[in-house]
Symmetry: C2
Subunit: 340 residues, 2 copies
Amino acid sequence: MSTSEGSVHEPNPGAIFDNINAYQRSAALKAAIELDVFTEIARGSRNADAIAQAVSASTRGVRILCDYLAISGFLVKDRDQYSLTIDSGMFLDRNSPAYFGSVVDFLLDPRLIAPFLNLTDVVRTGTTTLPDEGTVSRDNPIWVDFAKQMAPMIFPTAIEIAALVAGDGEIRVLDLAAGHGLFGILIAQQNLKARITALDWANVLAVASENAKKFGVAGRHSTLEGDAFEVEFGGPYDLILVTNFFHHFDPPTCEKLMRKILAALAPGGRSVTLDFLPNEDRVSPPIAGGFAMMMLGTTPAGDAYTFAEYDAMFRNAGFASSKFHSLTKAPQSLVISTKA
Amino acid sequence: MSTSEGSVHEPNPGAIFDNINAYQRSAALKAAIELDVFTEIARGSRNADAIAQAVSASTRGVRILCDYLAISGFLVKDRDQYSLTIDSGMFLDRNSPAYFGSVVDFLLDPRLIAPFLNLTDVVRTGTTTLPDEGTVSRDNPIWVDFAKQMAPMIFPTAIEIAALVAGDGEIRVLDLAAGHGLFGILIAQQNLKARITALDWANVLAVASENAKKFGVAGRHSTLEGDAFEVEFGGPYDLILVTNFFHHFDPPTCEKLMRKILAALAPGGRSVTLDFLPNEDRVSPPIAGGFAMMMLGTTPAGDAYTFAEYDAMFRNAGFASSKFHSLTKAPQSLVISTKA
């Protein structure tokens, strides 16, 4: 919405007004997903009246919501008829295999957005206003929701990573802070000789174990309960997966965990990091750079680290080398770090 | 943030992820304005450390905030140095005469954003979840804040409108729901024979009267306390200003007010409507179309009406004709409707 009314040549308040009101974009996507507006449009309801009837909502509300979604780029409007875009058809129609509408339950959980209602205080102190250690506090039930609700969005990325690292030999894999467990589970699906150990808090592991059953790899999927910083990893492992995890912590804490990972790897073993890696400028690509804001709001000291920072942290921890891999299905990237 | 990682050719979750998190854009602008980050950068603080010291905040918080603002297009980053854009320099540096950072206090008032925390319910019922009649309830103190905090943003628009309609003859002007009163006051400044009557609730009129003094037109500026739908307008007037007001109401209510306006106009008199007028498609231009969402969330039955709808409502109310005027300094447009 910001581009057409902003201007680089003459001052224009449009972009500022638009960004101040951007919270309505979050609200609109959440409402449309919760009401299944995208699903009903895919099923054939096309104008505001028909959609309103299908989703049991008011015509005024649905018409204004759908117009707003058309402005935001998630619907196409032709006269009074709405249709899905490629993205909304793929990801927001409940009958699409790639549906991930459930992510709004996690990403817009009132507990997660609370610090952003007074971000000024967070910027002042430099740390989350959430109690304890924010979202990384022990046994925080938000990670059970994460494991359940974010899995569909992560699925294509898990397939892509498995294709890159699973190989076909006998390997032992530690899936650190496994959550839904899909990263390890997809490796087990890809490589029938892979054995996975999923580590997380007990309440979260229940979700991972259920997924292992669902994907038919329960026989090669075991669990290890506890805090990644405290529990004995066992091993040695050939692969240790650290997916969407380092960003919650400051560099000394990351390095401490990297040293523990190094000790649990077999010679030649690899640590596979999936995370939001901005370029050196920290402001591109936009989603990776912008992710630091999520960490500012919700953690005591987390961040979106660049590859150079990961490379340095892994070297400090004793790894021989790290390599950057971009992914085609996710805004995150991979860092694959090898033990000598 | 959404364009570079979305794609019209291949499905990509980036734009959905970005829009779900868009509430952080509102939060970031509010925090930066409240901390006066833009003002301190204009004063010469350029890197995160220097800015943090100048605004008494943490370096981590300021660095992540400034990177996020660079991604959103409100700062330029060169190595570790931040500078203002044309828009942020003009409107968000407190020492700029066009500064309007105070609008975040109104636009992001917790009372205004509350309905958007559960927009699903609003869409279901088709009406605001705010108590009474939402923001249009009688003597709602939010309009005192509006009158104080939104005035700077409205100022260039008020100048532009005055130049269009003030003329140079003796005119009587009724400034309906006057708020800060600037639209009438700027006409009085432009045309020294104009006499203004500002109508609003008593608590709001105090702000308008203060502004009339400040702009040196208090001698030709009187006030009329009450509800625009109930109080006797007096008159006849040559101009009746209805700025950012009709959007709060449904068409029958708008027409009722238009009939009352017609009755208070002299023959040949004009009603001047300033409002968000989307094109017939209701989804362009984006800010005017998107404004309907603000009305869905905060009013019982308000909307962003097209020119064709205004034209029909004014004709139904007995006006001879209406003309559309676009403005260069605002996302709103004008409708000037003439009494026969």
